[in-house]
Symmetry: C2
Subunit: 157 residues, 2 copies
DNA sequence: TTCGTTGCAAATATTTTGCAAGTTC
DNA sequence: GAACTTGCAAAATATTTGCAACGAA
């Protein structure tokens, strides 16, 4: 199933209508896989496509997409929500592992999913049905470790 | 070392002054360990102690505390930041595992820390120095699983 | 005494909402 | 045609900031 059919199906299955706006938002997300677009960024990208969609619609659309599992909503603590498309055929849902560098703010993606055993334990022990998970490691990235001479850890003005 | 000495030391070590306001914020957090207080909630608790601290100061204080490692800043995606004190003698830093129920919004804490092997792999493979991590599982909690009759998964108006 | 800190109010930034007009099924 | 959806502007929230007065070291 291709992505546009998938969008149609998921919307329909959940009782929502397929509109040009929703299609466009999905398209933009699809063209920016593996990115983490903010609502504002989606808005800008859509403007470039000569659409005059209001930003409120984009907020509503992304919220809806998250609700019905079309996108994943990231939180990188940078003042806004960021979204990433979840393709129909992938199991990306279980692969949101990130390394966040405290110094330069870089976001590094971690590939492997070693969470399965942990999940199993949690499902059993807490009778909690896991739909998704987020694993974030905060620390110092390789690049910053290398140039760790300049500044100490005192406050910056 | 008790908590108040610890506050003094950490502030001093980082070149910050100890003020009555900072002491009070720390006190409130300390009296509410294992809670996840929002800035607003800290503000309310402080008002109850007959202090007329401005909320801007609380925002600044909590931000500062996070910077120097006195508190952990949670994000439960509920529209505000929430803070939890990190005691001097604990290793709480490595125990932020939560189960977030999509239905009722309940936050369940998970005790065990099975992340060590994963961390080791990441440190080695990515040359990334891990300072902290967050593990969140989103899903349906036991309570909600039990009363899963009423509503389907269609949208609610 | 110096410089960091606070309080207040105003400013930002992000996200939400009401409602009339427009669209989809 | 009924019900959902959009666009716009206004509103609501959370957080930040400028600046004069204050307080800690």
């Amino acid at each position: 199933m291709n992505e546009s059919d998938y969008l149609l199906k998921v919307l329909g299955d959940n009782g929502y209508k397929t509109t040009s706006q929703r299609t466009l938002v999905y398209e933009v997300l699809s063209e920016n896989k593996n990115q983490h677009l903010s609502t504002e960024e989606v808005y800008e990208l859509i403007k470039k496509k000569n659409s005059n969609m209001g930003i409120a619609t984009i907020y509503r659309t992304l919220q809806l997409f998250e609700e019905i599992g079309l996108v994943y909503k990231h939180n990188f603590d940078d003042g806004c929500s960021r979204y990433e498309i979840l393709s129909p055929n992938s199991n990306e849902v279980h692969q949101h592992h990130h390394l966040l560098c405290k110094k330069c703010g870089r976001i590094i993606e971690v590939k492997e999913d070693l969470m399965n055993s942990l999940e199993e334990m949690i499902e059993k022990q807490y009778n909690f049905e896991i739909l998704n998970h987020v694993v974030k490691f905060t620390g110092i990235c390789d690049l910053c470790r290398n140039k760790e001479n300049e500044d100490g850890n005192r406050k910056e003005t």
